[in-house]
């Protein structure tokens, strides 16, 4: 099935566009589906989806007008705003960046230690300087949708190195304990952030042991190495992703006991019967007022227990040429062509 020619040149389409041509490592070409009747026909006769191997080259193409639309790193937004031929839209993304703690590690079992990690870092400063303001600080993953909103009364964990030191002292933290952070270099933002994390953790007495590796190796350490009874081979893991704004229950697959990696995305094997119970209750009812209350309770517990050190929810930055009309930012960054049938270009 996967080897059939059909898989590389599909002929049917249920949408406004249909497959036309695919040049590997170059581009995918789609054309207007003339037989589409479920809505208005597409305005553009074709769209090329180009492969961009290097963000810098992609931006050069954007600036030169060779491509019309691209999602760029938040760090590029400011510079591109000054370009008169381009429009920059920055919208909140459904993702959250965080450190997952391996709660199987005896030295990370005490919640005061985990809280100290978050007090130790200046998230506001990082968002301002590294992410150029293109992110919102969060203290929970329960951040949507609109009827849920972000619960009130969460501890904001404002930057307070002294508090972090105090918490570590109370928890009898051994400052010789190294904390292993495996990561994949090559992400501009993470590469800029990680040395700052390392420094700010060091200031309160936490030594970060950075171990760089490629993605398959990292996946192996976090997922494949995990068993039902033991989390993967890491102390903390810097992750960004998820689609948290669609429903508060999305968080379940990260914090429930049944979601222990490899069966789910609870990488650090955090377990709490009360959390499990509340997630179950939240799924058992459709009453929004009741659900809102349950998930608010959950957010408060998880904000205090800190199975993750929540960092922020970054924005998605879409940049397009002014000749492109009708582009609307998608709620999930990669779904840029969601309303492509409404697009048109001016000469």
């Amino acid at each position: 099935m996967a080897k059939a020619p059909f898989s590389f040149a599909p002929t049917p389409s249920g949408g406004a566009f249909i497959f036309s041509d695919w040049k590997q490592d170059q581009y995918l070409e789609i054309k207007r589906n003339e037989t589409y009747t479920a809505g208005p026909k597409a305005k553009l006769d074709k769209i090329f989806l180009k492969v961009i191997t290097q963000e810098d080259t992609g931006i050069a193409q954007l600036e030169k007008g060779e491509i019309d639309l691209m999602t760029v790193s938040v760090t590029e937004a400011d510079r591109l705003r000054k370009n008169p031929t381009l429009t920059v839209v920055s919208v909140p993304s459904p993702s959250v960046s965080f450190f997952a703690f391996n709660t199987d590690r005896p030295y990370l079992k005490d919640k005061r230690v985990r809280q100290a990690f978050l007090y130790a870092i200046d998230r506001e400063g990082m968002v301002k300087e590294i992410l150029k303001g293109e992110a919102t600080i969060v203290n929970t993953t329960i951040i949507g949708p609109d009827w849920m909103g972000t619960p009130e009364g969460l501890n904001p964990y404002k930057y307070d190195p002294n508090k972090a030191k105090q918490l570590l002292k109370d928890a009898n933290w051994d400052s010789n304990q190294k904390i292993v952070l495996p990561y994949t270099p090559g992400n501009k933002i993470n590469d800029a952030l990680i040395p700052i994390f390392q420094q700010q953790f060091k200031d309160v007495g936490i030594t970060l042991d950075l171990q760089s590796m490629d993605t398959p190796t990292l996946n192996n350490r976090i997922i494949t190495a995990a068993t039902a009874t033991q989390a993967g081979d890491f102390d903390i893991d810097l992750v960004g992703g998820g689609v948290f704004r669609t429903d508060p229950n999305v968080s379940a697959k990260y914090f429930e006991t049944i979601a222990f990696t490899p069966a789910g995305a609870n990488y650090g094997h955090y377990t709490n019967p009360k959390v499990d119970d509340l997630f179950k209750q939240g799924r058992a009812t459709t009453d929004r007022a009741q659900r809102k209350k349950i998930y608010t309770d959950l957010a408060l517990i998880l904000n205090d227990e800190m199975p993750w050190a929540y960092l922020w929810s970054p924005n998605s930055v879409h940049v397009y040429n002014k000749r492109l009309q009708g582009f609307k930012p998608p709620s999930y960054a990669t779904h840029q062509v969601w309303n492509a049938e409404e697009w048109s270009v001016t000469k």
Binding site: Q24, Q26, F48, K50, V51, T53, T224, V239, A265
Partner: protein
């Protein structure tokens, strides 16, 4: 000579087997596998271990390593490179699609490198310690020292973005009919950046080899015969000075098919380098092995070609 050739060809078979065996073991020892490499941790966790096990079985990854190697060798012997673990496309097709772009880029770059390096190297040697020689030396060291990705980005910035003379990247203008002129315009920037980087060390080779040759007695003899300086340099000195260059150039021949990762990535050139790096990142064992095999074949052959050419140009060397 014939016997020598046969012997060399016979030796290359165990060499190739050794290379493929070693690379097979190494790529398989790298942590991770094609299944987990292709999905995010988030997706892996949601799909669960059963799904991963099923995918691994589909790709034949559940068989022990020696069995997999034997199967691979059997298929290769029948001329079957296999299917990519990433997208299940036949590898022969993937490679065929990339061969011509790679050859075009690498060939042009090598040609440019030779066109630049031979005259510049000769001039620089003939006028040793002149102003020109110093300029060439400094420029050469700069070209060797500046990383090619930086040179590439600077070239895109100046010639594509600021001056607007050339396209930034790619094989051709997307959505326009494919013309030779358009392809050439796309070729200029990457070929020059690569050519300059390759020319720099070649200039040094030509210069030093020329310096050595023009001090030889037979060059003095040629002068003493009353030959004009041009004839002495071109007919007697240069031809001999280029002999060491043959080895150097022959050793760059595998690159003609192997491509170059960095320049291809920067200029979005869909060549073998890009194929190789995506295969490694995705732990696409069959593709990695196919590329390794081709590169190994190219290296073995170009070494052989270099040896043969040596005997052809330099009568002092004989193989028995």
């Amino acid at each position: 000579m014939g016997q020598y050739l046969l012997r060399r060809l016979a030796i290359s078979i165990p060499v190739l087997i050794g290379i493929t065996l070693a690379t097979y073991i190494i790529v398989n020892l790298a942590p991770g596998d094609p299944v987990t490499a292709l999905i995010s941790p988030d997706a892996a966790a949601s799909l669960g271990p059963d799904w991963i096990a099923q995918q691994r079985e589909q790709l034949g990854l559940n068989k022990p390593l020696p069995v997999r190697y034997v199967i691979w060798v059997k298929e290769i012997a029948r001329g079957n490179l296999g299917y990519s673990a990433q997208d299940r496309q036949p590898i022969s097709k993937k490679i065929r699609e990339r061969l011509w772009p790679t050859l075009r880029l690498m060939g042009t770059a090598l040609l440019l490198a030779l066109i630049i390096s031979i005259p510049v190297g000769v001039l620089s040697a003939l006028r040793q310690y002149s102003f020109l020689d110093y300029v060439v030396t400094i420029a050469g060291f700069a070209a060797i020292s500046i990383p090619s990705f930086f040179l590439g980005l600077i070239a895109i910035y100046i010639f594509a973005l600021k001056l607007g003379w050339l396209p930034t990247s790619g094989l051709s203008t997307v959505g326009k009919p494919n013309t030779i002129g358009d392809s050439l315009r796309h070729l200029i920037l990457p070929a020059f950046v690569l050519g300059l980087a390759q020319a720099a060390p070649l200039i040094r080779y030509v210069r030093s080899s020329m310096l050595e040759v023009i001090r030889q007695d037979y060059v003095n003899v040629a002068r003493a015969k009353g030959l004009r300086e041009r004839a002495v340099i071109y007919r007697h000195a240069l031809r001999n000075a280029l002999i060491p260059l043959v080895t150097v150039v022959a050793l760059t021949l595998p690159l003609l098919l192997g491509g170059t990762v960095i320049i291809e990535q920067i200029f979005q050139w869909p060549g073998m380098g890009t194929l190789a790096i995506t295969a490694v990142k995705a732990r696409d064992y069959p593709v990695i092995m196919a590329i390794n095999l081709i590169t190994a074949l190219m290296i073995v052959t170009s070494n052989l070609i270099a040896d043969i050419l040596y005997a052809v140009i330099d009568p002092r060397i004989k193989y028995t």
